[in-house]
């Protein structure tokens, strides 16, 4: 006779610092949210049914997973407590700390710092229990995958910014449907068109931004670069930069090169590519457009 045992649940506490709520919304968009929630006991979440209310968090003795959304900033109150105090309290109590979204990771738009990092610099909370999931917002799949790995006890190998390599080991450029245009240096000069690479004119940061956006897609449909909108580098410590929709150049040469590609190598390759005109890539993909 088989005995069915219910898988154990891990307790989760979701704290919000200085935030726009975007990562919560992203998580709620995860198509298999119910399956993830079945494995979690929600101690507190600002939107999901929770065991405790915000004013009762002092009663929580321990939690397996602390999720932090939003940047760390003086004066942000949650319930009757300073957010910073609650954060420090539960970093201490939690087995795992998941920083979700670029504000919680680096400080981002709203914070003076992130939890474990201030930009790229470690804070006193740069700890082995921290997993950083940057993005603006973090992709629902990144949040769910990380939670699932923690629930399953699967180790996530992380980079020096504590980001799981299986998500952030790639650049957003990997898998971009416009790679042929990048290879042959055919520029897009307008947003929203199917054709052309967005790197040379329109500010695309995909060649030096980490993330698997073009491999897992957004809303299971497409990606920014897929629909003709440049990657704005939202997973990186220097996000947001200025002039997101034009490529900074010095005498026509991009100010930043694809990740790890030396300047001479890049200029040599693009010089060669630009010497040829590939007719197919100069035409519209769909004549009907």
């Amino acid at each position: 006779m088989r005995t069915s045992t219910k898988p154990s649940k891990l307790s989760l506490l979701w704290l919000q610092g200085a935030t726009c709520n975007g990562n919560t919304h992203s998580f709620l968009n995860y198509p298999h949210l119910e399956a993830v929630l079945e494995r979690l006991e929600i101690l507190y979440h600002p939107l999901l049914p929770s065991r405790y209310r915000i004013g009762e968090l002092e009663e929580v003795e321990k939690c397996h997973i602390l999720v932090v959304e939003g940047g760390v900033r003086e004066g942000v109150k949650r319930g009757n407590r300073e957010f910073k105090e609650l954060l420090e309290l539960f970093i201490e109590k939690a087995q795992w700390v998941l920083c979700v979204g670029s504000c919680a990771v680096y400080g981002g738009l709203f914070g003076e710092r992130g939890v474990a990092l201030k930009g790229e610099e470690p804070t006193p909370f740069y700890l082995p229990k921290v997993i950083n999931i940057p993005g603006c917002p973090a992709h629902p799949d990144w949040i769910a995958t990380t939670l699932w790995a923690v629930v399953e006890g699967r180790e996530l190998i992380r980079d020096h910014l504590l980001r799981p390599k299986e998500i952030y080991g790639y650049t957003v450029h990997a898998g971009c449907p416009r790679n042929e245009y990048f290879e042959w240096k055919v520029d897009a000069r307008e947003f929203g068109k199917r054709e052309g690479c967005l790197f040379y004119e329109l500010g695309c940061q995909a060649p030096y931004t980490r993330g698997n956006c073009n491999q897992i897609l957004w809303n299971e449909v497409s990606s920014k670069t897929g629909v003709g909108m440049p990657c704005i580098g939202c997973t990186e410590p220097d996000f947001p930069q200025e002039n997101l929709f034009s490529t900074k150049t010095y005498m026509g040469i991009p100010a930043r090169f694809p990740l790890g590609v030396p300047k001479r190598a890049y200029l040599t390759m693009t010089g060669v590519a630009k010497s040829f005109k590939i007719e197919r890539l100069e035409r519209r993909l769909f004549e009907e457009d």
Binding site: T249, Y250, M251, G252, I253, A255, K263, R264, L267, T268, G271, V272, K274, S275, F276
Partner: protein
């Protein structure tokens, strides 16, 4: 006599061909003339270059690498863009004086006979080592704030067109002074035109 390597032999052939082309004109010189000048059989020459066209393409790549390597050394120096301009102009003019066949080939054969180079030397393909270093010179000058940001070709044309024009005048015997007489003024003119 010690045997020389295939690469050295190739370089010997290219150096000889450049001098012959410069002296007699590209279309007047045959593969047989080059072989004769080198004291080798025509058949053997074809072991190194399968045709005069193939030789022509290798020559432009050879010159481009040679010029590119020197400009690269200048790019690596920790000096101002203004000083780099001076060094590039000096190097270019001294090369034009000491080895006029190099620059002449570039100006009179490569630029003037694009049909010879249309297959295999499209665009910047055969001059990439040289153009890449010039690009890096400009890019670093703008990045440091010393040069004005502008379209690459506007700046490239001003710099290289100017130098090419002077060497062309020199080749025609129309300059009243030796080419190095003009180094300082021309460097200053280029800097004034490009500075931020």
């Amino acid at each position: 006599m010690a045997r020389i390597s295939r690469e050295e032999r190739k370089r010997q052939i290219m150096d000889t061909a450049l001098i012959l082309f410069s002296r007699e004109g590209f279309f007047e010189v045959t593969m047989a003339d080059i072989a004769q000048e080198l004291g080798m059989s025509v058949g053997n020459l074809y072991n190194y270059f399968t045709s005069k066209e193939a030789l022509a393409k290798e020559l432009i790549l050879y010159i481009s690498k040679l010029l590119g390597e020197e400009i690269r050394k200048i790019n690596f120096k920790t000096i101002s863009a203004r000083e780099k301009i001076g060094e590039i102009v000096r190097f270019y003019f001294v090369t034009a004086k000491e080895r006029p066949e190099l620059i002449e080939y570039f100006l009179r054969i490569y630029l003037a006979n694009r049909e010879i180079f249309k297959n295999g030397c499209e665009g910047f393909l055969c001059v990439s080592p040289f153009v890449t270093e010039i690009m890096i010179f400009f890019e670093e000058g703008v990045r440091s704030g010393e040069l004005r940001d502008q379209d690459f070709f506007s700046a490239f044309g001003l710099f290289m067109g100017y130098l090419g024009g002077m060497v062309f005048l020199m080749g025609e015997g129309m300059l009243p002074n030796e080419i190095d007489y003009y180094i300082e003024d021309i460097s200053e003119n280029i800097y004034q035109a490009l500075k931020a």
